[in-house]
Symmetry: C2
Subunit: 272 residues, 2 copies
């Protein structure tokens, strides 16, 4: 019997999350159950259609879950929906792509006293994100037939380097990175559980537009990203997603490591 894979991706309505879904759909020939989580049912349905087209009759299910992951009051129920499995599917491989995130307010620290903005960004980028990883580990990593459970935290250069006017975003990425490092440490003797902090590069997505156009973004940082856009050096999310999956399948990373897009070759090997 072919081994069965489950792949759960948050923030898969668009951008990198959508691209990651397509990467898995193209690369995994074994039976595949995809779970796509995002804010818009319409966009998720579009991602699902793209997946189905690319599966060429390979055994596939694709569940879409519309959810606002910044709403902590509904998060336990959302988690139940996300991680519930068909008990007849004895998964050998389970992937959780912890991708959803938001920039939050981009402005210098001390320029606003808006706690609502602040809280919402932290709930979404930290609380919800870490909780869902914890839930994946609790519910899926110990399943009887699991050969490999993989958690990918979509990290950022911002997790390891401070950027002016991105205080909350940087703090969120640093928190997630550390949480996933702890997870790797806790499982240093459990080779079935693998953790990757993947920094996908400066992606040509909606987030970059917010950085280029934001009124309160630090002007020096904004100039750098506007230049990158003008000079066409932003990264295509599909190229970054394909590299991420190649890296996962090559298994060439140390569990818990922070790996940057620019250090991954197309075949998934590392160029450090």
């Amino acid at each position: 019997m072919n081994s069965r894979n489950i792949v759960i991706i948050t923030g898969s309505s668009r951008g990198l999350g959508k691209s990651l879904a397509l990467s898995f759909a193209k690369s995994i020939t074994n039976p595949l159950d995809l779970v796509l989580v995002g804010r818009s049912t319409n966009d998720l349905a579009a991602t699902k259609n793209l997946i189905i087209e690319n599966r060429n009759n390979l055994e596939t299910t694709c569940k879409i879950i519309e959810a606002d992951l910044s709403d902590l009051s509904s998060l336990p129920q959302t988690s139940e929906l996300i991680f519930a499995q068909n008990p007849q599917h004895n998964y050998s491989n389970a992937y959780f792509l912890n991708n959803a995130g938001s920039l939050g307010r981009l402005s210098h620290i001390g320029s606003s006293d808006d706690l609502i903005d602040f809280t919402s960004a932290i709930n979404f980028n930290i609380t919800s994100s870490c909780y869902l990883t914890s839930e994946f580990v609790r519910r899926l990593s110990g399943l009887h037939n699991i050969e490999k459970a993989v958690v990918v935290n979509i990290s950022s250069l911002c997790a390891i380097k401070p950027f002016p006017s991105w205080g909350i975003y940087c703090a969120g990425k640093a928190a997630r990175e550390m949480y996933h490092q702890v997870l790797a440490q806790e499982n240093s003797k459990n080779h079935k559980l693998r953790v990757l902090n993947y920094s996908p590069g400066p992606l040509d997505t909606e987030m970059q537009r917010q950085i280029r156009e934001g009124e309160n973004v630090d002007k020096e940082i904004q100039a750098i990203y506007r230049d990158m856009y003008m000079n066409n050096v932003l990264v295509d999310p599909q190229v970054s997603a394909d590299k991420c999956l190649a890296l996962l399948l090559s298994d060439s990373y140390e569990s818990g490591a922070h790996i940057d897009y620019y250090n991954v070759k197309a075949d998934g090997s590392l160029d450090l």
Copy 2:
């Protein structure tokens, strides 16, 4: 006229926060307005008494504010209380010691699905902590007569190194560290605002007791800290607080740097 100092310390009912208050009381001979924030009015009153005894008739006020900083609904009002100033006090130096924090649940990731615990620890250690720094910067760092505004984030080795079973604590410390690094970056040309991420060492406080006695603490980590306790190598909070203040007054640190207790000499100079 002597320059007037305001020193605001969160978590000053006990432990390091209380010791920091005493360090300032002993070292600053100029007029001093202390603002002590904590969970217990009784304990804060004890800290206040200790302060007053140690001021020897030097000009001093000491305001105590009982507050649960994990309660975000009351945080804006609490912030108002904390940072409100007497308009007749033209401060030349303002210090904010961002000290309050909690360990949260100590257990391996995936061993619990308790979102309430999770959220409460993040609200307290990240949201509230970062918000209060932002409020200090907004309200105090730009005052007309300010010569120096100093933010000290009480950090930890956990901000830069993952510890099994301390997932949420490590994530919180990493987030705070990064947020304060961003603040330093944003003010790299503003020499009036200084930021320190101070890692106070393994303190002989209530937190260490929780680590030694916690049922779900990683056994290897627990053994390390039990040994440190048995061998009397935990750090006295007053010794660590005195070093922190010596470091601040020596001004020998780079703004935003992570400085560990073990790298500070008694005179506040660095031994890196």
